[in-house]
């Protein structure tokens, strides 16, 4: 699967950077934020061009999977596979998206977002 000469052509090319894998190792929400340390950037030098770029972006500024996809111009699904690998390999730390459970946790977040908006 996923050879460059695959008749599916178009579909396959973007996934060449993931060696044809389309399933991420873990599901990462598009708004989940990723951070890389300086040491992780050094390590990512040897992880391939795209992973290295992602590490550099995440060291400069905490950013979401969506931002990484936009800045690297990799399709979302491709960026998700790479980012999931990097999290598993300890090159990126994954920060949580909004809590989905628990009245207090959800209410606290909504209150913080509301006051953030009012301060804009």
């Amino acid at each position: 699967m996923g050879q460059p000469q695959d008749p599916r052509g178009n579909l396959v090319r973007p996934y060449a950077v993931t060696r044809g894998r389309t399933e991420p190792r873990r599901d990462i929400p598009i708004e989940a934020v990723l951070v890389a340390s300086q040491a992780a950037v050094q390590e990512a030098r040897f992880a391939g061009h795209d992973k290295y770029r992602i590490a550099i972006l995440c060291e400069a500024k905490a950013q979401s999977l969506a931002e990484l996809s936009a800045h690297t111009r990799l399709p979302l699904g491709v960026a998700r596979v790479l980012v999931a690998d990097m999290v598993a390999d300890g090159l990126l730390s994954l920060h949580s998206a909004a809590p989905k459970k628990g009245f207090t946790e959800r209410m606290d977040l909504l209150e913080r977002v509301l006051s953030g908006l009012r301060k804009l």
Binding site: G77, A79, S93, V113, L114
Partner: protein, 206 residues
């Protein structure tokens, strides 16, 4: 995340939480304009690959031969604190990409459905979509220049918007106006959460 990997990744002492609000609506209703009016960055675009049938590419790989197409989504960012980021995601204009809408609303705080009052019928599909999802949403009437000024109640009736769904007027180009739309979304999400908690129906807000 296991201890070893978080240490190597240099996990910051503080966990960063991100929240998202979805800006939905038909083609050309002003979604990107609205996002751009409050975002701290120029709206960015991320692309997803899908089959022309509107399925995600994970499925496309299992149905070789199906044509694929890219779906673009615009989004913006508001950094509220060191440990809190709000993202605003605009839905793809074409409502046939439901797959992408499902991904966008997953875990969202809430949504605003933008309506262009010159083309009210375009709002049916997005409104239908939200009526069948468990996500608090409001309706924002984008006041284009020269658009007929309907009373919100007229639009509510024309589009059969349930009474518990708040409606606001807005100008997607203006930061203050967009701020108010987002404030309404979050207030409605809070009211819905409280109502769920006490087992009642969602309260009307605004």
């Amino acid at each position: 995340m296991d201890f070893a990997s978080s240490e190597r990744a240099g996990a910051q002492p503080r966990e960063i939480t991100s929240a998202k609000i979805v800006i939905a609506g038909g083609f050309g209703v002003g979604k990107t304009t609205l996002v751009g009016a409050v975002s701290e960055i120029e709206p960015l675009t991320t692309e997803a690959l899908m089959t022309s049938a509107g399925q995600g590419v994970d499925d496309a790989s299992k149905v070789p031969g199906k044509e694929t197409t890219t779906v673009a989504m615009d989004f913006g960012r508001i950094t509220m604190a060191d440990d809190l980021i709000l993202y605003l995601f605009g839905t793809p204009g074409q409502t046939r990409f439901w797959f992408m809408w499902d991904e966008l609303i997953r875990g969202a705080v809430g949504a605003a459905v933008l309506v262009d009052t010159r083309r009210i019928a375009d709002a049916f599909a997005p409104l239908d979509y939200f009526e069948n999802r468990h996500l608090p949403y409001i309706v924002a009437l984008n006041c284009f220049d020269g658009a007929p000024r309907y009373e919100p109640d007229e639009v509510r009736e024309a589009l059969a918007i349930p009474s518990h769904v708040p409606m606001v007027l807005c100008d997607a180009r203006h930061r203050e106006s967009v701020k108010q739309v987002l404030v309404h979304v979050v207030e409605h999400a809070m009211a819905t959460l409280v109502a769920e908690q006490s087992g009642g129906y969602p309260a009307v807000v605004g």
